[in-house]
Structure formats: C-alpha cells, structure tokens
C-alpha cells in the first residue's frame, strides 16, 4: 500500500479552514503566520511565504532573467495584475517555464504557510495577487503534497534541527561522490547561513534546499546538529514505591508487636 493510500484512509486536515474555503469555492487570501495562500473559486492560484524565495528570486538569482526585466513587468503590469502574462508576452520567459517556476513557488510557499503550530488564520475575501493568473491547483492537492513533503524530510534524515541551524560542511570521505548541485550548495555554506539563507543565495526553492541539506547530512557531508540534551535526571525509584503490593499484614503485625514489646 502506498503512502498516499494510507493517508487517504486517515486524512489529517493540514488546515481545516483551507478545506472549508475550498469546499465553498471561495476567492481571497488566506493569511497565516508563515505565509499567504491566494484562492480563486476554491483553487490555489498563488502562494507566498517570508520563509521562501519568491518568483522574482527564483527567476533572477536562480536564473537568467535580468532584475530590470522583472521590475519592468511589475511596474507596467502590476496595477492590472498581469505580471506573469507580461513576462511571457515580452519574451522574458517561456510560457512553460513560467508555469514550472510558478508551481514550484506555490508548493514551496504552501509548505511553510501550512506548517503546523502556526497561529490563527484569517481570510481576506476577494483579495487577489498582482502576479495574475498562471495555473491553479486544487487545495486538496496542496495539502496532500505538504503532508508528503513533511514525511519525505523525516524519511531522508529525521533531524528537524537541521532546517533552522547554520549549515556546516564536513570533508568528504575518500572516494565519496559530491555532485555538482551539492558542490554549489556546499560552496556557499559558510557555517553561518541556514538552509533558508542558502535558498535565497542560490535562487532555489526553500523546501528543495531543506531536502538537499538533509540528504547531505545523511551522507555525512554536513554536520548534524544535536539538540542540547535536556539532562534526563530520572533517578529510578525503588521497587517498593513503584510496585504497589498489598501490604504484608502478618509482617506489619509482627513489627508492631515487636515495637510494643520493646517499649
């Protein structure tokens, strides 16, 4: 049985509010602590999170788009909310590339926006994003993928502390392969930058960087930070306290008798 089938049997709502908004085919912006999801007729059309590089960074830092072209698109088409279309029509980007990059950005931002433990959500009905319409994905697909990504990270190397700690490279073992993509990441890991910082520097999605760092740590090419051990001072109690036994009445009687006799 696949993981998808298992999670299908026991669906755990990543965000009950998102599920409800999708069901009522709502349009607007779902604001959460770590990001915002934009909905149109209940489908997710865009997402952004302060934890992830946006489309602009992915296309300029991580790609060949000149920052001036991005700014020109925002200036000229931002007001009519057609920045994406403008980029393609002006020849800055291929239509397929825009879709690929935009989908990557949606799932990346949604992963952080839907992360557990974030505070209350608000929904601003009717709000739209200036990027304009590119592609939309069903909210259920985004929730499913977010869940799968959480499981994937832990399946690779179950040390969540890596996600927020500075990335400290380790020397490769003799004969160990370090791939081109890994070398690019390790070359920028200066012992201060966290995976999120590296995502911005490399112009890659933040989740991809988290995953790469976990894979590198699993391969021993990055230090795995260890949580300060919360001193497990758990002095074991003697058995006569923990194991409740019925008192030995005969013994108690003899003790009492002996004490009375000695008085």
């Amino acid at each position: 049985m696949t993981a998808a089938q298992i999670s299908g049997l026991a669906p755990v709502a990543v965000s009950p509010l998102l599920t409800r908004l999708a069901a009522e085919r709502a349009t607007g912006a779902l604001l959460r602590d770590r990001g915002t999801l934009f909905l149109e007729d209940g489908r997710i059309v865009h997402a952004e999170s302060p934890a992830t590089p946006g489309l602009d960074v992915l296309l300029t830092t991580g790609g060949g788009l000149a920052p001036e072209r991005w700014r020109e698109a925002v200036d000229r088409a931002g007001a009519r909310r057609q920045v994406a279309r403008f980029l393609v029509d002006s020849g800055g980007l291929a239509g397929g590339e825009l879709e690929i990059c935009h989908l990557a950005a949606i799932f990346d931002a949604a992963f952080f926006a839907l992360s557990p433990g974030t505070g209350p959500s608000r929904f601003r009905r009717g709000a739209t994003h200036w990027i304009g319409s590119v592609r939309s994905v069903p909210a259920a697909a985004v929730e499913r993928e977010t869940r799968r990504r959480r499981e994937l990270l832990d399946a690779v190397w179950p040390y969540p502390l890596l996600d927020t700690s500075p990335v400290v490279p380790r020397a490769a073992a003799p004969g160990q392969t370090v791939t081109t993509r890994q070398r690019l990441l390790l070359a920028r890991a200066d012992g201060v930058r966290t995976p999120a910082d590296l995502a911005w520097v490399l112009g890659r999605p933040a989740f991809h960087t988290l995953l790469d760092v976990r894979r590198l740590a699993a391969a021993g090419l990055v230090e795995t930070p260890h949580a300060p051990v919360l001193a497990p001072v758990e002095t074991p109690l003697p058995d006569w306290i923990t194991q409740t036994q019925s008192p030995d009445v005969a013994l108690l009687r003899r003790l009492r008798d002996a004490l009375e006799a000695s008085l």
Binding site: T2, A3, A4, Q5, L58, L59, T60, T61, G62, G63, G64, L65, V88, G91, L93, A94, G95, G96, E97, E99, I100, C101, L103, A104, F107, R135, R144, E145, R148, R149, L152, T177, T179, T180, R181, Q182, R183, L184, L186, A187, R188, V201, L202, G203, R204, P205, F207, H208, L211, D212
Partner: protein
C-alpha cells in the same frame, strides 16, 4: 507558447502512449499528469521516477566534466548544461522514457512518458519528447 498541459497532451498523442507526467526530480512532485499511471496513482509514480532521475542526474559517471568546474562560481550562474538527456527503462510490457527539461532558471524537471511495449515506438517517442521538452522553454 505551449504550457504544461498542451505538452502532456501532445505526448499522449504518440502511438502506444499510456501515461505522461512532468515531474520535479528533486522533490518528487508531479507538476502535471495525463493518462494513466502504471500503479494507478500518478503521485506515487512521480515520487518513484524522481528517485531514478535524480540518481541519473547527479551521479558523476553520467556527468561530463563541466568546463567551469571551479567550485563557487559567480552566484546565479546558469547554463550548467544538463549532462543527461534522457533515460529509458524497458519493462516486459512497456517503455518508460524520462526526458530532462533544461530551463533558464535552476530547476530539476523531467518529462515522463509511459508507452505500451507493442504499440509504442521508442525512437519516435524519444525524438518527440526532445522537441516537447524544448518547446516548454521556447519563447
């Protein structure tokens, strides 16, 4: 200016095509799917083919020495050039062709086409997938 859906529909028009998907090999996410999946679930197939593609894309034996292999080149350097063009897996009942897509930004995507062994034409499929992969990034 074809998009993901048009690209997958065209792939499905090939003789013997049973399923197609555009997959991100770094994360295992299916960006788009068409037709059937060999296991009845496109997401599972995407995750599995992504592992195969990642190995091919990253293992040194398949990578030519890059001309600018100096570590830590200029940030934002692109055009690394994909060392691997495609992967072919032949099974008893079908063919799987995985064609890497080169984009103008740092990405990790490939087209996966599943063909029937008797009706599929591997040479035609490889040729067509190359054109489709180039069409995705054509301005």
């Amino acid at each position: 200016m074809p998009g993901i859906d048009e690209c997958l529909l065209e792939a499905m028009a090939l003789p013997g095509a049973r399923g197609a998907a555009l997959v991100d090999w770094s994360s295992g996410l299916a960006l788009g799917t068409a037709g059937d999946s060999p296991v009845g679930d496109h997401e599972t197939t995407a995750a599995e083919t992504a592992e195969l593609a990642r190995a091919a894309a990253e293992y040194e034996s398949f990578a030519q020495p890059a001309p600018d292999s100096a570590p830590g080149g200029a940030p934002g350097e692109t055009g690394l050039g994909l060392p691997v063009e495609d992967l072919i897996v032949t099974t008893r009942t079908g063919y799987h062709v995985l064609r890497f897509v080169e984009t103008s930004f740092d990405s990790s995507v490939f087209l996966h086409l599943w063909l029937d062994r008797t009706d599929g034409n591997l040479a035609l499929a490889r040729h067509r997938l190359r054109i489709l992969a180039e069409g995705l990034v054509l301005r």
